[in-house]
Amino acid sequence: MELHQMGVAELSAGLRNKDFSAVELSSTLLQRLRQAQDNLNACITISEESALEQARAADQRRAQGDSAPLLGVPLAHKDIFCTRGQRTTCGSKMLAEFVSPYDATVVQRFQKAGMVSLGKLNMDEFAMGSSNETSFFGAVRNPWDLTRVPGGSSGGSAAALAARLLPAATGTDTGGSIRQPAAFCGVTGLKPTYGRVSRYGMIAFASSLDQGGPMARSAADCALLMDVMAGHDALDSTSHPQAAGRFSAALGRSVKGLRIGVPEEFFGEGLDPEVAQVVQEAIQWYVRQGAEIRPVHLPNNVHAVSTYYVLAPAEASSNLSRFDGIRYSHRSGSSVDLQELYLQSRYEGFGPEVRRRILVGSYVLSAGYYDAYYRKAQQLRALIREDFRRAFAEVDVIMGPTTPTPAFALGAKSADPVAMYLADIYTIAVNLAGIPALSLPCGFSKAGLPIGLQIMGNYFADELILGLGDAYQRDSDWHQQVPGWEEQ
């Protein structure tokens, strides 16, 4: 097997056995990343020099007897994670020149583990989008079909993994931004329980929903990444004291006796029949291994999208007020007074989707509308969480599709924000509640596009859902299918 085809676990073993060095490995992948840019546009920054320096350091550490499991394994970060001395753009013109003075906690943790960061991955601007088309640095293309979107907002991460440019990547998920692109590109991604992965240095979109997580080509690899990524961080006031875990050690569990909830609300109108069939077949695999299915109801899921499109823009309008054109963001050249400087810098620096969401947020928080929108949405959020509480009293996990359709065509939904928002109809409730969910490949459409199975767990059941994803992947090869983008 060639280096670029190997996953995290295989690379870790290869490095340990000295089959190849970290420098050889990183050089190979850096070359692939560069070559794929024209076709896929998965990266915003490729940091060759610093990557090779880190790889040399990893080889040195190994020569000195260090045997950290991920030492020398490459990855790349979604460009929402601050990286010291390196450009961090968040996919926006607003931050196109921003060089972070510090590292995000997640970046630091991977660095300490000896992983080699190859660069920064493309994303929807400020993580607002479900197609990667809102990026200031151009859309990412789906390696399974270059005329289709990779999903978003962690589209660069998903496309790079699917195209075998990288074995591992970070992503963030506010309403589905890890799981939806993972499903569209045929890779595996975990949105952890809120509070397990530090948000320090992860540029904020909607702070009560944002959660960083691992993306890779298997659940087992995601678990290895979580071993490093998760943990309490005093620098994040919402970091959970029990955030850490031994995720990889929890793999290899039996499925026997598992109670799976299958909500009928996830199989109703709007679901592509091909997706429904493939996902049902995957659920049947668990039944054959001894799991039992129980019907559960999530009656308020139907309100998840509207609840989200009040709360997330409200939080975003506040979080994004820091970009003022003065301290570290794009500054308009034409302004004569301070007011004009704010207005123009923010108009020029933010793209249309971000501007739209900030306006929605300002509106729902403005005097006279707060109760009708913001407070109402917070009440619905409580009802949505209550649905999950009730369901998890009866079942261990909930399964369903990650997305209503496979990847759609570039440009298909960019004119209508609401059509785009509905692409996240099965993923948003998870963020509102704060529970963990995994998306993993479970088949293909007739057109050859990947389809994702979503496994949702109760609070802190991250280990369980990773284990269930891993069990399925030990007996299936959907996650090992390779897209033919190099021939397209």
């Binding site: 809120y194 006031s237 009040v310 301290r327 207005l343 923010r346 109402k376 529970i435």
Partner: protein
């Protein structure tokens, strides 16, 4: 209304972009409007997924902090360790 919200948001909204912004916001708010029909009387609003208390750190000086130079390196306009802005006071 939309112009006022744009101003509150400190984002310029050129006249030629106003009609499109209005129609897109109308689309979004017609999606969101369905919420109003859900009975929520007596439901405690949920602000956050975790019922955690705000952690506090001790009120002590930190040993390490970033230098002014590092923090200001990305400022679009700065001079002598100060951010430059258009004249505010006449």
């Amino acid at each position: 209304m939309v112009k006022r919200i744009a101003h509150l948001s400190r984002i310029a909204l050129p006249d030629n972009e106003l009609p499109q912004m209005v129609s897109q916001l109308e689309r979004i708010f017609s999606l969101v409007a369905e919420m109003q029909a859900v009975p929520t009387q007596g439901v405690e609003p949920m602000a956050h997924p975790l019922d955690l208390r705000q952690p506090l750190r001790s009120d002590a000086l930190r040993q390490e902090c970033l230098s002014r130079e590092e923090l200001m390196a990305s400022a679009p306009r700065a001079q002598d360790g100060l951010f430059l802005v258009p004249k505010v006071i006449e």
